[in-house]
Subunit: 273 residues, 2 copies
């Protein structure tokens, strides 16, 4: 019999829970709900919401009716402008922590700082923040010196603190003034701590979450370093019985956008093996 | 015959030159001039000024007439208050770069930051800045984590950048917001660069300057690492003929408060050996 252990912070984080609640409530009275890009980075949850009439669209230009949802990672400024100019109905499900990144970035730009966003160039959160600076900002993915003397720094919410600080340290070398906001989401950090602790006590770790989810992928990378037998899966069907041969203790955790029901299904399946 | 090389930036720095000019001008029309503490950290220059009637006092409480000079490192807020309340005549010879440290520190405090001064607890510049914060600031001499989330950092003007940045990096770990002003004086840095370069090309280095001078002492420490045969002297009389046995090339440099005449005397003496 395999013993299963889960981390304390599991299931949706605050921002995702809030967003899902908002759209489900809206779906009660509306049957045409569009999210600009997937509302969260979890294909299974997005699939379930689609059955309730909540559908991701990549280009909002063709939408003329229904309700538009600003997803957790934030949308681009030009998309927000478009929605408002057209007078379309919308609900803003942007994570409040992501909005804080944006708010700090806008304020820094206004105050004359060259804004640096530490983050992944292609991540929607980073693209969103950058768009609110009218793309007048620098995205850094690795330590680099930039030729500005007054530098303001924010970071993508789901990054590792050490990774972010290494980049800030490099910027300090040439800055005359540097202002840094630690906008890393505490929950991401707590999940990593809990998962790292759990990984030391089990024979195998399962990380449940979207393959397109930045925080889940980073959680996997962190845990994998501690427990080489770590797997990143989206659903119970991704698991292979062979993984569990001779395994007695299994740890399960998930990303910020992983719904409880997927965790439960994985847990049941592991116990069945 | 010993060949002598000097660094390009030698003699008084901008702030010291300015201060000396101010007091000498004042001495033309006034025979009672008091500086609160030595106006600069060079005993020989301070001795020369004393002959012109410019005398350091440690406690201003007994002064009732004459002119009071605020020295290059800055004076304490309570001393400034005392002078102004008494209606005493004064001239402010505080280095403008030191005043910038103070200005940034006061602004940071007003804006709700916990102010950290990276510097030597006993240095008059640091004590001065701290006094203008009503002593509500933290002086750090080594990397330490402090329990404040909004941190504003300035540094003593004469420190090494790497030393300051190591302390800032540690503070970054727990700060939610950190605002850093690089208030290190460029001239200090340039002198170190020039002295380090020169040290690689000579057989022996002489650093001329007050033993109580922070920037001279640090210059000595930096150069000593490159050229083990490095000596910190105040005047030509501190030199020993034996140092120069078998030496062909000698480098000479000085701190920000070392007058040209001391450098010249050292140069002449070295050539005599």
């Amino acid at each position: 019999m395999i013993e299963v252990f889960k981390t304390k912070n599991i299931g949706f984080c605050f921002g995702v829970k809030r967003a899902i609640k908002m759209v489900i409530k809206e779906a009660e009275s509306n049957d045409k709900i569009y999210t600009i890009g997937p509302i969260i980075h979890n294909p299974q949850m997005v699939g379930m919401l689609a059955q309730k009439g909540i559908k991701p669209v990549m280009d909002i230009k063709n939408i003329t009716d229904g309700v538009i949802v600003f997803r957790t990672h934030g949308i681009k400024k030009e998309e927000e402008d478009f929605v408002k100019q057209r007078g379309l109905k919308y609900i803003d499900a942007t994570c409040p922590f992501v909005k804080k990144v944006r708010r700090h970035a806008i304020m820094l730009k206004k105050m004359g700082y060259k804004v640096v966003i530490v983050g992944e160039k292609e991540h929607p959160e980073v693209k969103s923040v950058l768009s609110y600076l009218d793309n007048d900002g620098i995205v850094l993915q690795k330590p680099e010196i930039i030729d500005f003397r007054k530098i303001g720094v924010v970071s993508q919410t789901t990054l590792e603190k050490e990774y972010v600080l290494d980049i800030v340290k490099e910027l300090l070398k040439e800055a005359k003034e540097l202002r840094f906001f630690n906008t890393i989401c505490d929950n991401t950090w707590i999940r990593k701590q809990e998962a790292s602790n759990l990984a030391q006590k089990v024979d195998l770790m399962i990380i449940v979450g979207g393959k397109n989810s930045s925080n889940t992928t980073k959680l996997y990378e962190t845990v994998k370093k501690i427990q080489p037998k770590t797997y990143h899966i989206e659903t119970d069907e991704d698991m292979d019985k062979d993984w569990f041969k001779g395994i007695k203790r299994v740890g399960i955790t998930g990303g910020a956008s992983t719904p409880d029901f997927l965790i439960d299904m994985v847990e049941r399946q592991v116990k069945n093996f």
